[in-house]
C-alpha cells in the first residue's frame, strides 16, 4: 500500500495550481460554484490544451498525455478547488474514452486531436422525456438511408448543448419491437450545426441554464457518424459509464462552499465568541471533514483501479462497484455539506447571490437549490444503489 502521490505527481499538482492562479489573475475565468457543470470558458480550455492537460490519459499517438487516471484526478481536483470552468470535460471524460474503445481509426484521428486542442465541445444526448433512469426506452430514431442515417426525435436534460459543437447521441437503429430494446440502440456523434436540429433551453430552479431540450427533425448524418457497432450502443454506453461516475466532481464540486463555511464559522462572532466554538457547529463541520477524507480515499482508489487496467469480468465488476460507491458517497457528502451550511446560516440561507446581507455571497442559497439535482446526474441515487446491489454485490435483479 502507498497513500502518497509520487514526487512527479505532486509537482504536476503544483504546476496545475500555478497555471490556474495565473489564469485567474489574468481574468481568464471567474471562480464559480458548480463551474464544472455550468461553467463555459473556451479561452481557459485553449490555454489548458497548450499545457497538454486535456486528454491527459489518452495515448500519445492521438495527442494524449499518456498519463494515468491519478494524474487526471489531481488535475480535476485543482480545477474544482478554484471553481474553474471545465467545458472540455465531456469530451475528455467520456467521448474520448468511448472513441478509444469503440471508434474507427478515422474517428479517432479526427476527433481526439481536436478535443485535445480544446477546440471542440461535446454534450451527451442520452435522456429523453420517457427515458430517464430507463435508457432502453429511448425513442429517438436513426433510420438507415443508403450510406447515411436520418435522425428524428427529442433529447432532454442535455447539459451544455447550447455551447457544444457535437452531441454524442444514443438513438434507435432497429424499430423491431420484438427485440429487447437494449439491442436496438446505437451511438452517433452528430454535428450540432446540422440542419434540422433545434436547441431549447431548460431553465432550472436556480434560474440557471445548463440543461436543454434538443430536437432532431429529419437530420441526415453520414454513416461515419456511427460509433462502434450498430445496435450495441446501450452496451457501449454501459461500458463507459464508470468513467462518468469516477471523478472528483461530487466530492469537490462544492469545495468553495466548504472553504467558505469553514471560514465563516471561524470569523463570525456570536455573543462574543466565534461561531465555531459552539459544540454543534464543531461537530457538524468535523463530521464533514471526516467524510471528506473518507470520500477522497474512495476516489483516489477508483483512479488507481482504472490505472490497473484489469479487464477481467471480476475486474470490471470491481470497477463498477467502486465507482458507484464513490459517487453515492460523494453525493451524500455534498448534500450533507449543503444541509450543514444551511443550518449554520439559518435565515441567511435564503439570501441569494447579490442580496444585501447575504452570507458567503449567496453560495449557500445556491447550494440548497442545487442539492436535489446532485442526486440525479449520471443515474439517480436509487439506480446507483440498485447497481451496487445487483452488479456490485451479486444480489438477484428479480
Amino acid at each position: 500500500m502507498d497513500f502518497r502521490f509520487t514526487a512527479e505527481q505532486e509537482h504536476f499538482r503544483q504546476e496545475v495550481r500555478a497555471f490556474l492562479e495565473e489564469q485567474l489573475k489574468a481574468g481568464i475565468f471567474k471562480p464559480q460554484v458548480n463551474a464544472w457543470t455550468h461553467g463555459y470558458g473556451p479561452e481557459l480550455a485553449r490555454r489548458t490544451a497548450t499545457r497538454g492537460w486535456i486528454g491527459l490519459t489518452w495515448p500519445k499517438e492521438y495527442g494524449g498525455g499518456g498519463k494515468g487516471y491519478l494524474e487526471r484526478v489531481i488535475f480535476t481536483e485543482e480545477f474544482l478547488r478554484c471553481g474553474a470552468p471545465m467545458d472540455f470535460m465531456i469530451g475528455d471524460r467520456q467521448v474520448g474514452p468511448t472513441l478509444l474503445a469503440f471508434g474507427t481509426e478515422a474517428q479517432k484521428r479526427f476527433f481526439l486531436p481536436r478535443i485535445v486542442r480544446g477546440e471542440i465541445r461535446f454534450c451527451i444526448g442520452m435522456s429523453e422525456p420517457q427515458a430517464g433512469s430507463d435508457l432502453s426506452a429511448v425513442k429517438t430514431r436513426a433510420a438507415a438511408d443508403g450510406d447515411s442515417f436520418i435522425i428524428n426525435g427529442q433529447k432532454l436534460w442535455t447539459s451544455a448543448a447550447h455551447v457544444s459543437d457535437y452531441v454524442y447521441l444514443l438513438a434507435r437503429t432497429n424499430p423491431d419491437t420484438a427485440i429487447p430494446a437494449a439491442r436496438t440502440l446505437s451511438d452517433f456523434i452528430v454535428d450540432l450545426k446540422l440542419p434540422g436540429i433545434t436547441i431549447v433551453p431548460v431553465v432550472d430552479m436556480t434560474g440557471g441554464h445548463m440543461w436543454n431540450e434538443v430536437f432532431f427533425d429529419s437530420v441526415r448524418v453520414p454513416g461515419s457518424a456511427l460509433v462502434g457497432q450498430k445496435d450495441r450502443g446501450f452496451y457501449q454506453h454501459m461500458a463507459i459509464l464508470d468513467h462518468e461516475r469516477s471523478g472528483m466532481e461530487r466530492l469537490m464540486g462544492n469545495y468553495p462552499l466548504l472553504t467558505a463555511i469553514s471560514r465563516y464559522v471561524r470569523d463570525t462572532h456570536v455573543a462574543g465568541a466565534p461561531l465555531c466554538q459552539k459544540e454543534w457547529v464543531r461537530h457538524l463541520l468535523a463530521d464533514l471533514l471526516v467524510k471528506y477524507e473518507v470520500g477522497k480515499s474512495l476516489i483516489y482508489r477508483v483512479a488507481w483501479l482504472i490505472d490497473q487496467k484489469d479487464d477481467s469480468a471480476a475486474g470490471r465488476i470491481e470497477l463498477t462497484r467502486s465507482t458507484c460507491i464513490a459517487k453515492a458517497f460523494g453525493t451524500r457528502y455534498e448534500q450533507a455539506l449543503d444541509k450543514a451550511a444551511a443550518r449554520i446560516l439559518g435565515p441567511g440561507t435564503l439570501l441569494a447571490e447579490g442580496a444585501e446581507w447575504a452570507p458567503l455571497a449567496g453560495m449557500a442559497s445556491l447550494a440548497y437549490l442545487y442539492s436535489p439535482a446532485h442526486t440525479t446526474q449520471a443515474g439517480t441515487h436509487e439506480i446507483l444503489l440498485n447497481v451496487i446491489a445487483t452488479r456490485g454485490l451479486g444480489l438477484p435483479a428479480r
Partner: protein, 370 residues
C-alpha cells in the same frame, strides 16, 4: 377527543380550495414572485370581501370572530396554493399583535381597516444581531409627543407594501412595540433578493418619529405581548407548512402513478413507495400536532411549549417531505417551470421562519427542566 373538523371548518376549507383553485393558479404564483409588489390587489380585495382578512378579528371590530382552528384551515389552503398575498403578515403577524397589545382605540382604528383590506400590517422579529427579543438593538428614544426610532430590521415579510410595520424597540422601560408608518420620513425599506418565494425586506429606521399613540400597549411590556402572540404565529406557520407538505405528497403520488420507466409506473418500485410512505408518516404527525395547538388556543389554554413542539417538528418534517418529493420527481422537479420548486424553496423559508427545529428544541428542553 374528537379528531374531526367542525362543519364550519369543512365548509371554509371547501370554499377556500374552490376559490384558490380558480383565483390562484400557479401561473399567478410565478408572476407574483417576479412582481415588485408580490400580490394582486384585486385578489386581496376579494379575500377581504370573503371575510378572510378579518377571520379572527372580533365582530366588534368588523371581523368574523372565528377561531384559531378556522385560521389553521385557511392557512393550510394558503400554503397548499402558495398564496401570493400578505395574508400571513397582515392577518397573523399584524392582526394578532394588535389584538394582543393594542389599546381599545388602536384596535378600533386598525382592525376594521385590516379586515377590509384597507391597511396592510406586518411585524419585524429579526435584526442583524439575531431573532426575537434578545436580538433587538433598535432603540426608541422618548421625544416630543412620542418616540424616535433608530435601528435595522431584517427579514420583515411584506414590509414594502405594508402601511404599518410593528417594530420592537428598546425603550428606557424595556422592550416596547411601535407602529411605524412605512411612509414616514426616515424609513428605508428595501426588498431582499431571496429564494423564499415571498417578499422579505430590510427596514432601516433613522430617527423615525412615532407619536405617543403609535406605541402599542405599554412600552416595556413588549416581550409580554410577543410571548403572548407567538404560539398563534407558530401554529399559523405550521398550518401553512402542513398545506404545502400535503400538496407535495399529492403531486409526488400523481407523478409516481403516471411516470413509467422500465415498463411500469415508478410508484410500483419499492424505493419510490418508501419515499412516499415516509412523506406520509412525516405529514400525519404534522397535521395533528398543528391542530392541537390551534385547539389549545381556541380553548384559551397555555400552549407555549406545545407550539414550540409543533414548530420543532414541522421545520424538519416539511424539509424532509420536500426532499423526498424532489427525489421522487428527479430532474423534472428541478426545472423552473415545475411546481415542486415553489414548495421546495418555501419549505426552507418556513423552516427558518420564527426559529428552526434547533431553536425550538431548546425551548422544549427548558420546559422539561433540562
Amino acid at each position: 377527543m374528537d379528531f374531526s373538523l367542525g362543519e364550519g371548518q369543512t365548509m371554509l376549507r371547501t370554499t377556500a380550495r374552490d376559490f384558490l383553485t380558480s383565483e390562484c393558479p400557479k401561473k399567478l404564483v410565478r408572476e407574483m414572485e417576479q412582481d415588485e409588489k408580490g400580490y394582486p390587489p384585486a385578489l386581496w380585495q376579494k379575500m377581504a370581501e370573503m371575510g378572510w382578512l378579518g377571520l379572527v378579528v372580533p365582530e366588534a371590530y368588523g371581523g368574523m370572530g372565528l377561531g384559531y382552528l378556522d385560521l389553521a384551515v385557511l392557512l393550510q389552503e394558503a400554503g397548499r396554493f402558495c398564496l401570493p398575498a400578505p395574508f400571513f403578515s397582515s392577518v397573523v403577524l399584524g392582526g394578532l399583535t394588535i389584538m394582543a397589545a393594542g389599546s381599545a382605540s388602536q384596535k378600533q382604528e386598525l382592525l376594521p381597516k385590516l379586515a377590509e383590506g384597507k391597511a396592510i400590517l406586518t411585524l419585524s422579529l429579526s435584526e442583524p444581531e439575531g431573532y426575537y427579543t434578545a436580538g433587538v438593538r433598535t432603540t426608541a428614544t422618548p421625544a416630543t409627543d412620542g418616540w424616535s426610532l433608530s435601528g435595522t430590521k431584517l427579514f420583515v415579510t411584506d414590509a414594502h407594501i405594508a402601511d404599518y410595520i410593528i417594530c420592537p424597540a428598546q425603550t428606557p422601560e424595556g422592550l416596547g412595540l411601535f407602529l411605524v408608518d412605512r411612509n414616514a420620513p426616515g424609513v428605508t425599506c428595501s426588498l431582499l433578493k431571496t429564494i423564499s418565494g415571498d417578499k422579505q425586506c430590510s427596514v432601516v429606521l433613522d430617527k423615525v418619529q412615532v407619536s405617543s399613540a403609535g406605541a402599542l400597549g405599554e412600552p416595556g411590556k413588549g416581550k409580554n405581548y410577543l410571548d403572548k402572540v407567538m404560539p398563534a404565529v407558530l401554529m399559523a406557520k405550521c398550518a401553512e407548512m402542513l398545506g404545502g407538505a400535503e400538496q407535495v405528497l399529492e403531486m409526488s403520488l400523481t407523478y409516481a402513478r403516471e411516470r413509467v420507466q422500465f415498463g411500469r409506473p415508478i410508484g410500483s418500485f419499492q424505493a419510490v413507495q418508501h419515499h412516499c410512505a415516509n412523506m406520509a408518516i412525516a405529514l400525519e404527525g404534522l397535521r395533528y400536532i398543528t391542530y392541537k395547538v390551534a385547539w389549545l388556543l381556541d380553548e384559551g389554554l397555555p400552549c407555549a411549549t406545545e407550539a414550540a413542539i409543533a414548530k420543532a417538528y414541522a421545520s424538519d418534517a416539511y424539509q424532509q417531505i420536500a426532499w423526498l418529493g424532489a427525489s421522487v420527481h428527479a430532474s423534472i422537479g428541478f426545472t423552473v417551470d415545475h411546481d415542486l420548486p415553489l414548495y421546495y424553496r418555501r419549505a426552507k423559508a418556513a423552516e427558518v421562519a420564527f426559529g428552526d427545529a434547533f431553536y425550538h428544541q431548546e425551548l422544549v428542553a427548558q420546559a422539561a427542566g433540562f
